[in-house]
């Protein structure tokens, strides 16, 4: 599904990603962990097409197509989804209007008919139930006045609405209380199928108590320095990141 080969990216002339290699197949859950400043969020931003970052080397293939060549909206339409670490507040744009526009633009891209108002509302009800979020959130402007937890739940709700092939969750767990974390994890687990995949970017192991990854990667100084099964997460939790830093210090 996703093949990243020797990806380098920089911001303001500073290289943050220094040769990432990663392959994600359908049905898999990958966790990317690492200390602060290792490039985790940069990887998410580059994959979704944030123009603040410049890719200076490498390639990314998404379902056989050149991902880096696509505009952010086309990546989304091809089935890529990012759960933002810091979801943006957009006063004046209602959640309903936002989701309806997004969904119908994606449908248009696939050559499908737009959803009727009643079908759309029905879908919203279903998805809200699935990810267990307050119906009140969808009556408001996008993220406006939402608490941190509400914003993260809202990301998972959007993911449920858009039904992506590959979802990247960028530190969706940080700052979440245990109840919100459970809701987020539940949502991800319910949406998991054999034909989609998830990348969890996280600093802590706690989320992985609720979502079981197939692979755990450690990102350090812009490179994946270690890859293993879920047991690696537990090891990191126990020992911290210092041993990684020591081992891979240049």
């Amino acid at each position: 599904m996703l093949k990243i080969k020797d990806l380098h990216a920089k911001i303001d002339g500073k290289e943050i990603l220094r040769g990432i290699n990663l392959e994600v197949k359908a049905g898999e859950i990958h966790a990317i962990m690492g200390p602060n400043g290792s490039g985790k969020s940069t990887l998410a931003a580059v994959l979704t097409g944030n123009e603040a970052f410049e890719v200076n080397e490498g390639e990314v293939e998404f379902n056989g197509e050149d991902l880096l060549d696509m505009a952010p909206e086309d990546r989304a339409r091809e089935g890529l989804f990012l759960s933002f670490q810091y979801p943006v507040e957009i006063p004046g744009v209602s959640m309903t209007n936002f989701m309806r526009t997004a969904l119908n633009e994606q449908k248009k891209h696939k050559g499908e008919e737009p959803l009727s108002a009643s079908d759309f509302l029905k879908l919203m009800r279903d998805r809200k139930k699935l990810v267990d979020i307050d119906s009140d959130l969808t009556n408001r402007s996008v993220n406006e006045g939402f608490s941190g937890g509400e914003k993260k739940k809202n990301e998972i709700f959007q993911m449920a609405m858009l039904d992506p092939k590959l979802a990247i969750l960028d530190e969706t767990d940080s700052g979440l209380d245990i109840d919100a974390l459970r809701i987020v994890a539940n949502g991800v687990n319910k949406l998991k199928r054999s034909d989609n995949a998830t990348i969890l970017i996280t600093h802590y192991q706690r989320l992985l108590d609720y979502i079981e990854p197939d692979y755990v990667h450690v990102l350090y100084k812009g490179r994946i320095v270690k890859s293993a099964g879920k047991e690696l997460a537990r090891e990191l939790e126990e020992k911290g990141y210092d041993w990684i830093k020591k081992e891979f210090e240049e």
Partner: protein, 460 residues
């Protein structure tokens, strides 16, 4: 004293040559003011940008005697229903038409509550001398502003609205101001609105242009809002790029009265709004908002002045603008709190979205506070579209263009929310969205009376 600029004498000459023609059909009480206005105009002239209040809009190049004048041209000769065909079934308003500043008789559709008068200023001023004597030229600053002086010299017709004490006009009173004709034209329209004690009305001014000629408009509207009365006022401006309009709106509010005034500039050439309100009775409430959406070389200048003359009044002001291409804008928010006007609440903000590097905005709050127990705030912002929000929308599959429109609309939304009438709110919402999509037909501004015969009405 500054000597009057050379070009202004042409207007004075025009006035002297045509005075008898202007005065012929006017009330003597209205005529009485012309000499005083002429004296003031000799001193003030047409304001250039050297006049502080007009710093960002120089009117001198536009107001000259070179244009045909509406009293001699007399605007429109035909029948109004040949230009406008309204579907009476769907018309939920009292709609009247003004063509080139002149009232068109017989265009008032629905039955009005007893005692309520809507009609030609020229005609009704003669019948209602008491009202004219009490309010005419008493609310607008005839001797202080050259444009009001000019209007008072030439004032002839316009709309006259009188809602007697206790009466409620439920349906909106819609005034469709049409500018048309083959010749370039100057219009000095004069309106008077009197809402007596405990009465209520909703008044909607829709400003259109129907031909490509250059139109230079200087309108003055005086409105008296008596104690506990309520006026909802809307102005929707949708005129072609060759239009220059100075709209003076002067409100006088008595105790516990409520004014909501909303200004939508959807399309224009050069627009200057002078919006003055005097809060002269305790617990009067004043809400003024505006939205200007401009592009190309369009220019919009909103100048507001809220005068808190007595204690315990409240004013809220919100103006927002979305500016594209090389458009320019200005906002002045003057608030005066008199020495004894304790416990005043006065809030003001002006926010602007500049879509290009060439768009320019000048905004200035001017607060003069002489009382010591007041709550006043003001804020002004000039910014660009939020890149983070744009990326967020695109990351959900929304195209860059569509995301742009969504964000612009989101910015404008706050002003549209201020509209009190749900039907009107929905219609303005649609107009604004069309404007952002570049689909706005200037015919669309006739929002209440929307059923227009396409063959009869050609829009430019």
């Amino acid at each position: 004293m500054v000597k009057i600029a050379e070009q202004d004498t042409s207007l004075l000459n025009l006035f002297n040559e045509s005075r008898s023609l202007i005065e012929k059909d006017s009330s003597p009480l209205v005529n009485q003011w012309r000499t005083k206005a002429e004296e003031a105009f000799k001193q003030l002239g047409i304001p250039s940008n050297k006049v502080e209040a007009y710093k960002y809009t120089n009117l001198q190049p536009w107001f000259k005697a070179q244009y045909a004048y509406s009293f001699s041209e007399n605007g429109y000769q035909g029948k109004i229903d040949e230009i406008f065909k309204c579907d009476v079934e769907s018309m939920e308003s009292h709609t009247v038409f003004m063509v080139n500043g002149k009232f068109i008789p017989g265009s008032n559709g629905n039955v009005l509550p007893q005692g309520v008068v809507i009609g030609s200023f020229s005609e009704l001023a003669k019948k209602h001398s008491l009202i004219i004597e009490k309010y005419y030229s008493k609310i607008a600053p005839v001797t202080e502003d050259g444009m009001v002086a000019l209007n008072t010299m030439f004032a002839n017709d316009g709309i006259f609205i009188h809602v007697p004490a206790g009466k409620v006009v439920e349906k909106p009173i819609q005034i469709v101001n049409i500018l048309t004709g083959e010749k370039d034209l100057m219009v000095n329209q004069r309106n008077l609105i009197v809402i007596e004690e405990n009465a209520q009305a909703r008044v909607l001014f829709c400003d259109h242009t129907l031909t490509q000629s250059r139109f230079v408009i200087n309108s003055v509207t005086e409105a008296q809002i008596d104690a506990t009365a309520n006026l909802d006022f809307y102005n929707i401006q949708n005129q072609h790029n060759g239009t220059i309009q100075v709209g003076g709106y002067y409100f006088n509010q008595e105790k516990q009265s409520v004014l909501n005034a909303n200004y939508f500039t959807l399309h224009t050439g050069i627009a200057r709004n002078n919006i003055f309100a005097r809060l002269g009775g305790e617990h009067a409430e004043n809400h003024i908002s505006g939205l200007y959406l401009i592009d190309k070389n369009q220019h919009v200048d909103n100048f507001s002045y809220i005068n808190h003359a007595v204690p315990d009044c409240e004013s809220n002001e919100l103006f927002k603008g979305v500016m594209d291409d090389a458009s320019t804008g200005a906002f002045t928010g003057r608030i005066l709190v008199a020495k004894d006007a304790q416990r005043t609440n006065a809030y003001q903000s002006n926010n602007n979205l500049l879509l290009t590097e060439n768009a320019k905005m000048n905004t200035r709050p001017q607060l003069e506070i002489y009382a010591d127990d007041v709550k006043c705030s003001h804020g002004a912002t000039v910014g660009q579209l939020d890149d983070n929000a744009l990326f967020y929308l695109r990351a959900r599959g929304i195209s860059k263009e569509e995301a742009n429109i969504l964000l612009r609309f989101a910015f404008a939304y706050e002003v549209i929310e201020k509209i009190q009438m749900p039907e009107l709110k929905e219609q303005i919402r649609e107009l604004v969205e069309k404007r952002f999509r570049g689909e706005l037909d200037k015919c669309d501004s006739c929002v209440v009376c929307g059923q227009v015969d396409k063959n009869a009405m050609r829009c430019v």
